[in-house]
Symmetry: C2
């Protein structure tokens, strides 16, 4: 007997660019993928680690379409224009026209690159997100941010291009490494911190079940994370204002990732350290209490996430890299701070001293 899968469906509300997020366990092999492919052809973009795990399952869902496959190497260091061009080569060699659909099967790197390729190819074709990491499921697959890195900065090139659908199956999380799993937990904790203190409390209470990857608990965590993100994205698709709070810890975190050339900390590890640094600035600016920070640090450490930047980094490294961040406007750095747990704000008036002493402290051996 095949167990009937419970599937939760959220809707990202963006007028004629609205789309569903389908969340379940085992739904990968049941999803009506073809109903989201308008033309006759599609290109699945994936990576070498995913191929033996899920490629056949997805191919079985698109039997009535002409399918090509593009397999990229695994890793953030390949998220650049050079590897993006391999996707374009494939599309052109196989004569994909404007009616094609791209399918991103993989983690955040695959999703971001596939989305960007879809937004540029023949000035824009649709794409579908099938995220296979916890990080991609709760963050990068939702909201339409696409892009690649540049040697001089993370995600510096990209577009806003919403997917036609997001398909999330928690069963795929079983094959994730512990580090990759925890990297996703950092973003889940972020949603509690910026917008939903009840959710933060819930994560604390359910930390053990989450660490054990209990499916039903994971579905709840993913759904609540995606719901928060959807709400914020619907209110501010192109990040003119409120959407910026999703970047808690990211200005610090991106500096870490760029410094290490994407070969050290995972994204969630970098923003874990970054969120604590943003909370330190918040504290020095008169928000929060020391006890709040300890509580968050304990939870991050429970998931074995980094609470400090890499020891090779100096305050001057942060400054140089942070001033290249997309959050800099007219030369002023903006940071996401926490007013309290569950309430973020975007601030470009914080004192330089708060930032300097945060960097000094964080970079102390």
């Amino acid at each position: 007997m095949v167990e009937k899968t419970k599937v939760e469906t959220l809707h990202v509300d963006l007028g004629d660019r609205s789309y569903p997020i389908c969340i379940g366990a085992g739904n990968l092999s049941q999803f009506d993928l073809e109903s989201y492919i308008n033309g006759d052809k599609a290109l699945i973009v994936t990576n070498e680690l995913i191929v033996p795990l899920y490629l056949e399952t997805i191919k079985a869902r698109v039997k009535n379409k002409s399918i090509d496959i593009m397999i990229l190497p695994d890793g953030e260091q390949f998220k650049n224009l050079e590897y993006l061009n391999l996707i374009f080569n494939k599309l052109l060699e196989e004569n994909h026209d404007r009616k094609t659909t791209l399918i991103a099967l993989g983690g955040g790197v695959i999703g971001d690159m596939t989305g960007f390729a879809a937004s540029c190819y023949q000035r824009g074709v649709p794409f579908i997100q099938i995220p296979t990491t916890l990080l991609a499921q709760v963050d990068s697959s939702v909201g339409g941010k696409t892009g690649v890195n540049h040697l001089l900065g993370k995600n510096m090139l990209g577009s806003f291009h919403q997917p036609a659908a997001v398909l999330i199956d928690v069963d795929v999380l079983g094959t994730l490494s512990d580090r990759q799993f925890s990297s996703g937990m950092a973003e889940i904790i972020k949603y509690g911190l910026i917008a939903d203190v009840d959710f933060f409390d819930w994560i604390e209470s359910n930390r053990t079940r989450l660490l054990e990857r209990d499916k039903s608990t994971l579905i709840t965590a993913i759904e609540r994370s995606c719901a928060t993100k959807s709400k914020i994205v619907s209110a501010d698709e192109t990040e003119m204002g409120i959407r910026g709070i999703l970047n808690l810890g990211h200005t610090f975190g991106h500096a870490i990732e760029t410094f290490q050339n994407y070969r050290g900390y995972l994204h969630g590890e970098a923003i874990s350290a970054g969120m604590l640094m943003a909370m330190s600035v918040s504290l020095k600016e008169g928000y929060l209490a020391k006890g709040n920070i300890d509580r968050v640090e304990n939870l991050l450490a429970f998931f074995d996430l980094s609470t400090k930047p890499p020891k090779e980094m100096m305050p001057s490294d942060f400054k140089k890299l942070m001033w290249r961040d997309k959050k800099v406007q007219n030369g002023r750095l903006r940071l996401v701070l926490l007013e309290r747990l569950g309430k973020a704000l975007i601030d470009d008036k914080f004192s330089q001293l708060s930032l300097d002493s945060t960097l000094e402290n964080a970079c102390k051996p």
Copy 2:
């Protein structure tokens, strides 16, 4: 005494993406460029031929902004991802943030690349078009199509990204070569053919004044061309339908340009030959009269434009390259045909025989 310049202003009506097209003689040195730059910084993207001619004039219009300059080599063969990346390098090295503005000072290649760079940089910044060729003034600077070529096809990568303003000065046309000038005339004639038979008649009557580059006649021709393009773009920004008629002759023309790797015919020369091929298919499909084609061929020849594809090209070359065109949808090739002079239609039901015999005839020695 400084002569007061007559400036015509058209408006491209696209809601919150609307913008003005300012057309005049001598207005380059009088335009309030700074009012279109929101932030403190801007990057002028131009090419090595333009620098000695107009760069200082433009720099004098943005004295209160911090300006960087990116100089690209001149030519369609540099309109690719590799040279696009040079623009990104410059923006990042000079710490341009999301509030920057790009200024395209040059022909269609510079405009297309600068617009695409603006659409991708930090997921989108504004840009201004200052077209310095007749072709760019009447065509590529208006309508928001941006992009670069790929080895396997022209303009295969790009976006729709509308400029903040288009500044057209006919004085700059004085330095154009005869070939470059005629290349622009091909697009002007196109507007008459697809949508405005009175304009076609007017071009015929004013051919000598146009060839002599009489400024007042040119302003009229540019204004009428831009007005037609604006109207079509406003009705169909992302080319879901009617905008397609702007591509009369382009499916054939792009095949020529791709075949020659952008080193042979100029764009206008390629679409000149392409328009005659599209008219030949139209004739075979029962539209038009032979006399119409002769009349158009005479006018194109008057401006010394190509009326045949390059002699190295075979029908099979066209077929291979045309099937990679963006106008192919679900495997069916769509062509812009002329129902009569001044009235175009988009057709994917023409007989293969009409196309085949057109190609055979056109490729005959």
